[in-house]
Symmetry: D4
Subunit: 248 residues, 8 copies
Amino acid sequence: MGDQFIEDILNKLQNGEITREKALLKLKKQPFEDIGFAKIDHHRKLRQGYPEVIYGAGKTVEQIIEIISVMINNQEKVILITRIGQEVADQIREKYQIQYDPMSRIGIIGAFQSNRGHGSIVVVSGGTSDMPVAEEAAITAEAFGNHVIRLYDVGVAGLHRLLAHLDEIMSAKVIIAVAGMEGAIASVVGGLVDCPVIAVPTSVGYGASFNGLAALLSMLNSCASGVCVVNIDNGFGAGYTASMINQR
Amino acid sequence: MGDQFIEDILNKLQNGEITREKALLKLKKQPFEDIGFAKIDHHRKLRQGYPEVIYGAGKTVEQIIEIISVMINNQEKVILITRIGQEVADQIREKYQIQYDPMSRIGIIGAFQSNRGHGSIVVVSGGTSDMPVAEEAAITAEAFGNHVIRLYDVGVAGLHRLLAHLDEIMSAKVIIAVAGMEGAIASVVGGLVDCPVIAVPTSVGYGASFNGLAALLSMLNSCASGVCVVNIDNGFGAGYTASMINQR
Amino acid sequence: MGDQFIEDILNKLQNGEITREKALLKLKKQPFEDIGFAKIDHHRKLRQGYPEVIYGAGKTVEQIIEIISVMINNQEKVILITRIGQEVADQIREKYQIQYDPMSRIGIIGAFQSNRGHGSIVVVSGGTSDMPVAEEAAITAEAFGNHVIRLYDVGVAGLHRLLAHLDEIMSAKVIIAVAGMEGAIASVVGGLVDCPVIAVPTSVGYGASFNGLAALLSMLNSCASGVCVVNIDNGFGAGYTASMINQR
Amino acid sequence: MGDQFIEDILNKLQNGEITREKALLKLKKQPFEDIGFAKIDHHRKLRQGYPEVIYGAGKTVEQIIEIISVMINNQEKVILITRIGQEVADQIREKYQIQYDPMSRIGIIGAFQSNRGHGSIVVVSGGTSDMPVAEEAAITAEAFGNHVIRLYDVGVAGLHRLLAHLDEIMSAKVIIAVAGMEGAIASVVGGLVDCPVIAVPTSVGYGASFNGLAALLSMLNSCASGVCVVNIDNGFGAGYTASMINQR
Amino acid sequence: MGDQFIEDILNKLQNGEITREKALLKLKKQPFEDIGFAKIDHHRKLRQGYPEVIYGAGKTVEQIIEIISVMINNQEKVILITRIGQEVADQIREKYQIQYDPMSRIGIIGAFQSNRGHGSIVVVSGGTSDMPVAEEAAITAEAFGNHVIRLYDVGVAGLHRLLAHLDEIMSAKVIIAVAGMEGAIASVVGGLVDCPVIAVPTSVGYGASFNGLAALLSMLNSCASGVCVVNIDNGFGAGYTASMINQR
Amino acid sequence: MGDQFIEDILNKLQNGEITREKALLKLKKQPFEDIGFAKIDHHRKLRQGYPEVIYGAGKTVEQIIEIISVMINNQEKVILITRIGQEVADQIREKYQIQYDPMSRIGIIGAFQSNRGHGSIVVVSGGTSDMPVAEEAAITAEAFGNHVIRLYDVGVAGLHRLLAHLDEIMSAKVIIAVAGMEGAIASVVGGLVDCPVIAVPTSVGYGASFNGLAALLSMLNSCASGVCVVNIDNGFGAGYTASMINQR
Amino acid sequence: MGDQFIEDILNKLQNGEITREKALLKLKKQPFEDIGFAKIDHHRKLRQGYPEVIYGAGKTVEQIIEIISVMINNQEKVILITRIGQEVADQIREKYQIQYDPMSRIGIIGAFQSNRGHGSIVVVSGGTSDMPVAEEAAITAEAFGNHVIRLYDVGVAGLHRLLAHLDEIMSAKVIIAVAGMEGAIASVVGGLVDCPVIAVPTSVGYGASFNGLAALLSMLNSCASGVCVVNIDNGFGAGYTASMINQR
Amino acid sequence: MGDQFIEDILNKLQNGEITREKALLKLKKQPFEDIGFAKIDHHRKLRQGYPEVIYGAGKTVEQIIEIISVMINNQEKVILITRIGQEVADQIREKYQIQYDPMSRIGIIGAFQSNRGHGSIVVVSGGTSDMPVAEEAAITAEAFGNHVIRLYDVGVAGLHRLLAHLDEIMSAKVIIAVAGMEGAIASVVGGLVDCPVIAVPTSVGYGASFNGLAALLSMLNSCASGVCVVNIDNGFGAGYTASMINQR
């Protein structure tokens, strides 16, 4: 609670505009609505000017639709629903207009934000199999109002592919580096640029990749400065943080 | 190699200003000096306008002093040497003016950069034992020209301590959250703000902290958006990345 | 074997009320009935005054029904069957009156115990996906005769949600904190109260959550005193232990 | 902040007893004193009626002594300092009267609390090498005003030793089970009693004990209900939680 | 190759009974038949007087039937096929008389060996879910000609169940202790007897049992002497080794 | 970029054969074709004279067929597609002539390379279940133009089987040792020969094999010199590297 | 408690030889002496006819000497003290006649048992560095009255060394296989013999041996039947169990 | 045993040149000398034409000197002793002429082999701290008669440093890639060349490098074909295997 908020209430109390009971209540009442299984913070969006996000994994279609309905009643313009399948999107579509992207598994209700970033977010990825995570990052960043450049299949084992795009890479305001297996692209890219690199390990690989552990450890140990890491397969987190940085 | 650089050479070649051999050489010659054990990139600093950094751990005093001497011959104004002990600093002092901070174990030759950031970097830490890592982050950020606010010993088990500093926390341009043990502060802070949070797990703890693994995993799994993570005890990396973000 | 029991037998032997063979037998005979695959301790319930519990996972419906039938023959009034699916419950219902809760996957034969606790058990949980484990804890505690207050979806990334319920949290006699991902709620709650907190890590999450390992380690390393931990997803264990504490 | 506290301030404000500025300040001012490296919560003790605790590991003697001095200026009667060596205790003794126990590595300033518990806390331990952790638990529990019964060296490989103390074990209000190696004692004891068992894995062992991991996992998987677990070697946490339970 | 075998050949060579070529061949020719995917050692059985064993997991029915047919052509009397499902057994039955036990998932062609052991092998197990592994051990031991006593569902959380069978346990020549979860039964039994105990961790459990890792580590760290361990769920290995010991 | 290539361009520029713009472009243009999801390096094959390889796992049939079509348009003669199922091969066959081997799960378009190696590559494997990985290695090596000798089912538990093939083993130019479970064959073979041994751990096994981790660690710790290791189940990598060595 | 023991007491009670109080006491009184830190079971030795063993690691010299003194007062003839250094042995020697072996770090008071085994125990080990563990096993077995054959430095990388001792190996009644690094010797030996093999992984190695984990996993996954495993570096456990088997 | 060897003996036996006893002995006698703690294979060197190698770690100076003396008596010309400190080298020097290199910690008695390789072995390493391992590899390769090119401090974070040496890298016959931290250099180099790459992870790093585990996993998951891996810090193994490949 900011000083201003408290002061206003005290002010009104002294001026007799509100009763003591009302003041007490206002100081404690919370800006959320209880819908049984998910209490949604309406104020958050106002503070941040961003779309609302629903993490779809582990929620039933019914739960998702109920959350959407509460949000829309609260004048939300844009809602991002991550990690849902085609069939879930189809069921939502029966009630709300939703665009669904099967690669990233993201559904969007409403329009993308207009560009509010200072520069470009470049998403580089190692291989074809990393594309779902890379797209989750890219579409998230776009939905939050950023210009995104995609450089896919530029893994370090074919360095010339990556270096062919040096101009785009070096002009980025923030880079998202997505890779499974040995995750080396984060270090290589981190050494080429002087902007922050958000590394996203993916669970792509087999055997000693241990579902992304190899890429995760590799990225955490990057010898390049300016590299930080999010959870395995967390494309959304990378896109969201990159947006924050790009819109500073 | 940028387009301009190549074009200049081609230009000069066509104009007869340089010979073909010279052009070939120029296109291949590298901007570094070989000193046997460490090839230093003089150009990097020019591009970035930042101090040079020497990672002191695992290097002998002789190696460190030789690197410093090469750097100084190359007109470096500010040199940061991380992870060195008092005795190493004392040996360097015999040759160069160095300020040494025993808490962060950082030595600095030359003056700090003047403030070039857009806002403040807030460093929060969980407990007294996390201070060396927190200070490594804070001093790095200061050396790279940022205003730093320190909020130490505000662990989540005493939430009122953290909440007492809400104003500072919410005004930050980027936050560095340093914690060992369960590393929960990254999530709590991440939920309070809408700026990027760089989480630094520390090796502080015992038993099932497994030298920082518990804090690392906890931070990677943060339920707050906008949190990214660096290696265990990597205060320097956090300070450096925060500076990059703050100076975007 | 308590002193009284042994003494009684010796008494009867000396008094000639029982033969030596009978005494020997009584000293060795065990209070359970062999049904081939599960020897059930009838005396346990008498000692504890609690419902019988059948851990349903890994047992066939036939095995579960046979155990129920033995228990009912032994005058058990209340039987809790955990970790069973709807279809198993349906098959049991053909023979016995059973209430089944699909969220917690608990089936109950007979009535809940009346309230025998000294205070309230508060179950807090981080997110919607943690509800099955939270409900396993809550229903177990209720079945054993405790008043339970549920505070769900109060994850630390939205601290105001948790703090809105400070009164309920601080009035608890024992708290069960259920969370996956980074499991930070145990520390935050533990720092707010002066009652025991039983932390239940859940397998909710992905990537570096490693099926609940991140939350488990986080909770074991809690910087708040008074926090102890049960196995990942072990809602029953938490509810049972909380009941023990509440009924001391 | 409780309702009463807020209401009092609003009351006084309306009654003109305090100014608006004062009210605002009171609503925000925090009950702790900043001593640079450790902000101590004076109010905590009042709320809980317990001794203050300083976790000594990773703190310098100077830091510890400064914390003690602040506490004593705040009328603390009893201070527990855990995980300190003899030499640290000796340095503290030059300023304050301190009792030091080399086995548990606990120092105490002031007198133990008088017995405030409802029953006994029984500390059982597996082997001689587990004694330092067991004593940390036992002395903590005593310092917080509990009657403690020690049953050491009653490891499960010599079951008759444990069973010889059945009476004491079964009369406990809460049991602390301390063991390294395979940590089986928690399950065995948990199966004998109907009170909560706090299991403390220790780092005693070698090879595949992996510094207490084997005991930790074993205890988390206890087939006995009513067992919960604290961090490896966390005798203090066990003693503190047991005290909470015993004084419910 | 034993001395006797070599000497016989040399003997015959000197006596002119065989040619040099034949001697060379005999010294090199191997006692197995190549059937493309599995070279079977006919001599092994002769040396050991034991049934042949086929590890069924990961083999197709066709491969298993071909191995059986080669064995039967080589006068094998008894063949044990482990880790096969009912449907595999049914397909084998179309060609060969096979007894199949669905609990242990073992199929047997031919008759069990008559008792050749010196004493009894006692198989103890913790819970109902451990029975498949326990039966794999028990049936293996029986097939190799041992008298087996089964004591199931005698987990340490109900110690009286185990102690009720002290006589059988203490009369064993070798004990197989089968348990998942915390695997404590190996230590408890190991402390009661002075015969070897072969501990078999099972993958029964959830969460921090990590598919049997907890039980495995627990058993490896047993504080009881005379306990050795086989792989998780390796009932066959335990039964086979116990047979070796019992028939010494 | 080789010296010759740069020099040629400079030459042509000076001779006026190409414009400055053309020279600039040539120095930057990359030798690959962008097909949206996979940029294929046509030059690689020319440099190496090897078949093209498509890693099929995690790619859709459509993606695979599109890559094949681009390759064939570029005059590729031989294409190896690894890790595809029968149904994928069948769909490819509708468009292209493909041989499919269900054991190794490799499809081949075009003819095998003729023998270009200096000697034989011997593939040894421990058990029947390791055959898919062993065949992936063997067929890869054959496809790249090597003579391959297969020695399967020669696990170390039946040493005579392995030793029966000493001549073939000792005549190898490079050996590929494939094994799951304890992976001991790499060390045993490595001690018998003086050629490089490429060890391939497989995920064959159960329990404490942890999906090939046991074999992987075992092989990395081989006490025999000259053993190096590839990823778990990576038959292709072993066959490819062996081919490189054999064709040096 | 055996039937006979209980019956005797009941007998005496009925015959009036003892009072009821005495009977009750006898049924509960334990056969050990409390010396504060270690309760020693005098009866164990009688039951087993074996030397007493003190695990020296983690005990002070004072504690060890006190245990010895209690044992000697109880007519113990032979005492084995494992894991003690030379200096500890020297301090014990001031009070008791002790033989100390610096390689195995075992001290012995009294004479070895005369040979009571049925055959030989063969101890094989991989390398020079495994000798301390191998000797701990060998001397333990000798102290318990077994004939021991040592075959050291016969690692699988030099198979001819091992095969040179085939006669000794194949004549063993039980084999102890000691190895660090990849631990392959257990499988190789297990495949050669038809007696039980007790595998002892050692912490010898570096890097991915992870302090013996590689050898431990390798041995647990042995493809040879009849191999069981003890803890890393647990030579004593192997020697003790081998003795049990040899003296069956 | 080769055919020729057996045939010779049979020949002599038939010709009466040797007795049957002698033949038997010859067929079994092994080509090594027993020196109590280390049986040395004299024949190995003859077969391989390489220097003898003593792994110094974990051996006493006395043991090392005794092994050297046996080797020299057997006409060994060159002896490599790895992983010894300066003080051990000094003690050896009192008896034998030894060159000692403190960086690689290798001592050499006798002269290096003359160049017998087909091409160059290139050793690339990431950072200054990796030099000891890189030098162990380089000196081993030189001692075995190979031409070695060292490219140190060419980590992927400064790609231009690596690319400046493209000519040397692409001309290599085999490459040894040494790196700690994220170990990305193996993949980058592997993608540039078409010769085998032996990757050596080092324990250089901190935190989540877990003593080289991060680099090890990264290298095992290399997306470049033709990369195989040796144990963490195993410079010797890499140099030895590279020599084998170079001298094919």
